[in-house]
């Protein structure tokens, strides 16, 4: 069963500027794969900066701001996907970045441990309904769970999630996390 949280915007891959990277489950040690998160995030950030040339000081600052935001968001989404993918599944992890006139959007898809879905969805509901500033400071005081909250609080991102059965493995649940940064 498909379940949506937040304002999830469906995408067509053949529309607009898009860059997608896929990670197939293999026997590569997680440590080696972990390094790919940063490399991929920085690549996405560098790639995007082509569309925002830093010709003067203001433009250069805007470019640096955007690169930093893209690098943080993409890295965090990939770290989460690597950490929380359901190991027995063969479902790949993918990240896609879309550029529009007023926003950059990310879609990261991974499998989820079926036993972890309910808790994850409760966390999402809290993120979407509670006061972000209060929640951010409460979590910072616990020094825990700052990934999505930093996107929401420091980068003004909009987040949404889609849970759906895997097309290849119908018993496996997948989650697509959408993060939209206004530009």
């Amino acid at each position: 069963m498909t379940r949506i949280f937040g304002d999830f915007i469906e995408r067509k891959d053949d529309h607009g500027e898009c860059l997608q990277i896929g990670f197939s489950p293999t026997s590569i040690p997680i440590q080696q794969r972990w390094r790919n998160n940063g490399l991929s995030a920085d690549f996405l950030a560098d790639y995007l900066s082509t569309f925002f040339p830093g010709d003067d000081r203001a433009a250069a600052e805007r470019q640096a701001d955007l690169k930093s935001a893209v690098s943080y968001v993409a890295n965090e989404l990939l770290e989460n996907a690597m950490k929380f993918s359901y190991a027995p599944s063969q479902h790949p992890i993918s990240i896609a970045m879309y550029l529009e006139s007023d926003a950059v959007s990310f879609y990261v898809t991974n499998s989820v441990d079926p036993h972890a879905v309910a808790v994850f969805q409760q966390t999402i509901e809290r993120l979407l309904t509670e006061d972000i500033d209060a929640r951010y400071m409460a979590q910072l005081a616990q020094a825990d769970g700052m990934g999505y909250l930093t996107m929401l609080h420091d980068y003004g991102a909009a987040l949404a999630w889609k849970f759906a059965p895997s097309l290849q493995e119908p018993d496996v649940v997948t989650v697509t996390t959408m993060v939209r940064l206004s530009i």
Binding site: G38, S68, L140, A141, M146, T150, D154
Partner: protein, 114 residues
């Protein structure tokens, strides 16, 4: 107690009670950040009058790194006599966005972004 890694470095200068963090902190979770947190808390445990955390050349910090800095700030909060100074740079965009949050955790923290 310095940490020298291909992607990041943490140096403690006892003479000036300054911890300098450089590079990119993209480590995986609490366990991998433990050595860095140890340097930070040891610097705080020396109870200097002023403890400086120089982050000006720390280009990247993931959310586990944010947790780690929060743990340090919470740790040093117990030492009322220590003035914490956090140094950041306008040239590193994440620092302008995120460092001020630590000041809210420790209102006496002096934030110097240059």
């Amino acid at each position: 107690m310095d940490i020298i890694h291909e992607d990041y470095q943490v140096r403690y200068d006892a003479a000036t009670a300054t911890v300098i963090c450089q590079g990119s902190f993209r480590l995986r979770g609490t366990e991998e950040y433990a050595p860095i947190l140890q340097v930070l808390t040891a610097a705080a445990d020396a109870k200097p009058a002023t403890l400086t955390l120089d982050l000006r050349t720390l280009q990247f910090l993931n959310s586990s790194g944010i947790n780690t800095l929060a743990k340090f700030v919470l740790h040093v909060r117990q030492y009322n006599a220590t003035q914490v100074v956090m140094k950041g740079s306008h040239r590193v965009p994440w620092q302008e966005k995120s460092l001020k949050n630590f000041q809210r955790l420790l209102p006496g923290l002096r934030l110097e972004i240059e």
